[in-house]
């Protein structure tokens, strides 16, 4: 196994060549906040919360899709990064319609956790209050409220790469960009959906939810997804 050595926040780290900065930092137990990254599925670098500074490179780089290189010097928690992360979270709140008080994911939401982590007490951006974000409850068991979607595409990837059904996709672009089911059909009419619920477990916010579940009952079983991936790769089928 070829090994790459680098430093992350002044700590010496040795990892398998080809690892990402995020994997290397996990190995070194240095926490980098993430939102679109989900263990077990491919990375797309969509949310930019994992941005880090690399000495000698002017741009900020997303840790989840940047490979380590020999002698690389990474900084994960500079004041500049802290400020940008806070701004990203503020923008996510200002962009959609996040009314936590009436959200099924309240207290079980990765976006909310991130807001606490970056120390957001309000957003400095004007709320957009988009009026065109719809709610689809045509599926027998699940629903999607696009007001709370942060376009992380975790649902898209989990359905495609783990379940193999590829029900979800991203449609349109810019401010009207949204995740769709099937060929932009009501979710309930998409035959490919096996109703496995993996997208529900993958969604970091209250966007995809189980019908009839109250706030108090809402919980996500991310471990189930990781279990499925390990099971597939290593043929270990017990948990």
């Amino acid at each position: 196994m070829a090994v790459t050595t680098l430093t992350i926040d002044e700590v010496d780290v040795a990892v398998e060549a080809g690892s990402t900065i995020l994997q290397a930092s996990q190995e070194a137990e240095i926490r980098i906040p993430v939102l679109c990254h989900l263990e077990g599925v491919s990375d797309v670098g969509a949310c930019r919360l994992c941005l880090v500074e690399v000495e000698g490179i002017n741009k900020l780089l997303p840790a989840c899709v940047t490979e380590v290189s020999e002698e690389m010097k990474v900084h994960t928690n500079t004041p500049r990064l802290q400020e940008y992360r806070k701004m990203i979270v503020e923008m996510l709140f200002a962009e959609g319609n996040h009314v936590c008080a009436i959200c099924v994911a309240n207290e079980n939401c990765e976006l909310q956790d991130l807001a606490v982590e970056v120390g957001m007490d309000h957003t400095r951006f004007s709320y957009r209050f988009p009026t065109d974000r719809d709610v689809d409850v045509s599926h027998e068991r699940f629903g999607i409220d696009r007001n709370r979607c942060v376009l992380c595409t975790r649902c898209v990837r989990v359905c495609d790469e783990i379940e193999g059904a590829h029900v979800w996709d991203v449609a349109e672009r810019g401010e009207v960009c949204k995740v769709v089911t099937g060929l932009n059909q009501p979710w309930g009419e998409v035959d490919a959906c096996t109703a496995c619920g993996k997208c529900v477990d993958a969604c970091p916010t209250g966007a995809i939810f189980r019908k009839g579940v109250t706030v108090a009952e809402m919980e996500r079983d991310r471990a189930k997804l990781e279990f499925l991936v390990t099971a597939r790769e290593k043929k270990e089928w017990t948990r």
Partner: protein, 182 residues
């Protein structure tokens, strides 16, 4: 030490934040040793907002012309303005009418489409305040000095935020205990 001039106001909110404030129970007695309540819908009967207020908690979003007028006056006359609860900080539930579109669409929906036998749009200038085009959080309208999110913030969180202010110190607004929305 002189008593602090303390006020609370109630804009577009459900009064839940004020109820949570009253949940401070016996600490209210402690608080009363340090403050003069100079204006508050739950703590005094004064009709006019006085000059030279030290601390004011603002519950609710800015949704109509009365809210706008009051918050501007309050800002002018207050040293430390606290956005009190999610409605003040994010516009929260009252702002869900923004998703309906413009004010006219909202009124149309509520009073005509969903109305009973006596369908009519409310219109009484000088008595019923006109709605603003958009419900907005307080800091989009005037400057805010401290944000206390939560729907409502728990009594404990309220105490942790205002107790330091009484000694002219800033509260430590970090971590889930102090910051969480919803």
């Amino acid at each position: 030490m002189d008593k602090i001039k303390f006020a609370t106001i109630w804009l577009a909110g459900c009064s839940g934040c004020h109820m949570s404030f009253l949940d401070l129970d016996e600490w209210l007695i402690e608080l009363a040793q340090h403050v003069d309540v100079v204006y508050s819908p739950v703590g005094s009967d004064y009709k006019d907002y006085p000059d030279g207020v030290d601390v004011c908690l603002v519950e609710g979003a800015v949704a109509n012309e009365d809210n706008l007028e009051l918050i501007r006056e309050v800002r002018d006359k207050t040293k430390l303005l606290v956005s009190f609860g999610d409605c003040a900080v994010t516009a929260n539930v009252p702002a869900m009418r923004n998703l309906q579109g413009k004010t006219d669409d909202t009124l149309q929906r509520c009073y005509l489409e969903l109305g009973d036998d006596s369908r009519q749009l409310p219109h009484a200038p000088g008595i019923v305040p006109e709605l603003l085009d958009r419900v907005r959080p307080v800091h989009e309208v005037v400057s805010v000095d401290l944000f206390l999110p939560g729907c409502p913030p728990s009594a404990e969180r309220i105490q942790n935020a205002i107790a330091p202010l009484l000694e002219a110190k800033n509260p430590d607004m970090t971590g889930r205990e102090m910051l969480k929305f919803g």
